[in-house]
Amino acid sequence: MNFIYLFFLIFSLIGLGVLDHRRKLVLYSVDKNSLVSGMLLTITIFLIIDVIGVFLNIFSSNLQYIAGIYVLPGVPLEEVFFLTLFAYVTTVLWRLFK
């Protein structure tokens, strides 16, 4: 049991949040509602893919680096934060390129 991975994920999310706040890109933009609902839908779909992956015995998480809290069968809490980070950083980038 270890919070290191979770810590870095949250740390990165906060960093992105600061950038987002300064440049008004995603959560601080006018169309934040549609962006957030799109991110939530994507995260949900990929959590399902993760569950299938765990179910098919394709991947698993190393207990040495995760908190050991599972939100879905075989899917640790960190995966939710990972997908959130992935969705957030991609949306921020997409907005930055405009």
Binding site: L35, L41, I49, L56, I58, F59, N62, I66, L93, F97
Partner: protein
């Protein structure tokens, strides 16, 4: 070996197809490729950490084994599918939110159990108990299979269905032409789902499974369209329910099929298709469609149905089933025989009764199976 590849490639291909056909066509923009390059760069850093420490571990038997540094190549497909999906999520949500009910209605939710149940029974009578992975096959025959069968059917049937009062009820909805592309897309996705089913299965299973899908598709799709060929329409319609059981048996490695039971079920399916075709005689004739009922006429078709039901029941006496399972089946031929006295306009009631009685009889079989296998 290819599990992870399929798990990532299927969503990737699906979302690329969606993006180009119905989504935001992000793949045609320069900006997208700039994003892709940056995301790839970030993945190289982040994923190297994840896979080299490792935080995420991969089962070597399930991946291709081709790695970029420590990153399995499939991870990139996962990432790209994620990015393209994210960009299209808003479009996806809008289309899905507006039309999911029509698509779902086309798959005949009332009949889902009619295909999932035979698959579950096939598994149970062969292995004697269920395993977790059976959910995949039973789940496939619950929704995706029905979406393929009835989705294709509703697209090709649009012309005749306009005259058919039965549609737009529990037996299905009228699918307007502007929804046809979305339906093709959903059917495609359902077929892609089936790839997850056949991974790692025997050639025997895969052959049976593909045959089952082809019979479902070409029941209504051209050039075969077996639903318009009298007698063959009843046969293929029956196979739609018998084959899920056969596939269920093969799923657990059964090679020797319980033939008497399957043939009995097959005759039940033929007769039931005839009962279903009877109320549509007028609509089908008007639309120029040929079915077993328009070919033989109302009374002969009803008699054929009764005979098929009797063959179905008779065969069951050759396998050891309790009488309380066999005798309630007699309601089916009685219901079909009643059609002889009914005016054509009343035949819909016979079919409705048939649908409802199915639920009751299905309940009886369930009780028997639970008692016989699970305790």
């Amino acid at each position: 070996m290819t599990s992870y590849l399929l798990l990532t490639l299927i969503p990737l291909l699906a979302i690329i197809m969606f993006d180009l056909k119905m989504g935001g066509q992000f793949l045609l923009r320069k900006k997208f490729y700039l994003l892709l390059v940056v995301v790839t760069g970030m993945m190289l850093i982040f994923d190297t950490l994840l896979t080299s420490l490792p935080i995420v571990m991969y089962n070597p038997t399930q991946i291709l084994g081709i790695r970029v540094g420590s990153i399995p190549i499939e991870d990139f497909l996962y990432g790209y599918a994620f990015v393209i999906f994210l960009l299209n999520a808003a479009v996806f949500k809008k289309i899905l939110g507006r039309h999911y009910k029509s698509i779902l209605k086309s798959s005949r939710p009332f009949s889902w159990v009619n295909t999932a149940f035979p698959a579950a029974v096939g598994i149970l009578i062969t292995r004697g108990y269920f395993r977790y992975e059976d959910i995949a096959l039973i789940g496939f025959f619950l929704l995706p299979y029905n979406l393929i069968l009835y989705g294709v059917n509703d697209i090709y049937d649009y012309a005749t269905d306009k005259f058919n009062p039965r549609k737009n009820s529990i037996e299905g909805g009228l699918l307007s032409p502007d929804l046809h592309p979305l339906m093709w897309w959903s059917v495609g996705l359902a077929i892609l789902c089936s790839i997850l089913i056949i991974v790692g299965q025997s050639a025997y299973f895969i052959l049976l499974f593909i045959a089952t899908l082809l019979i479902a598709i070409f029941y209504s799709a051209l050039p075969l369209r077996t639903k318009q060929i009298p007698i063959l329409d009843s046969v293929t319609s029956s196979l739609h329910f018998v084959l899920p059981a056969v596939v269920g048996i093969a799923w657990v490695g059964g090679i020797v099929m319980p033939l008497i039971g399957l043939i009995s079920f097959f005759f039940w399916g033929i007769a039931s298709h005839m009962v279903g075709a009877l109320p549509d005689i007028d609509a089908d004739t008007k639309a120029g469609e040929r079915t077993v009922a328009t070919f033989f006429g109302k009374n002969v078709t009803a008699i054929l149905a009764v005979v098929s039901y009797i063959i179905c029941i008779g065969l069951l006496f050759f396998i050891s089933l309790p009488l309380w399972i066999i005798l309630p089946l007699c309601v089916y031929p009685i219901n079909a025989a009643w059609s002889l006295r009914d005016h054509v306009s009343l035949l819909r009631k016979r079919f409705r009764f048939f649908m409802m009685y199915n639920l009751l009889y299905g309940f009886l079989i369930t009780i028997y199976l639970i008692d016989h296998y699970l305790f």
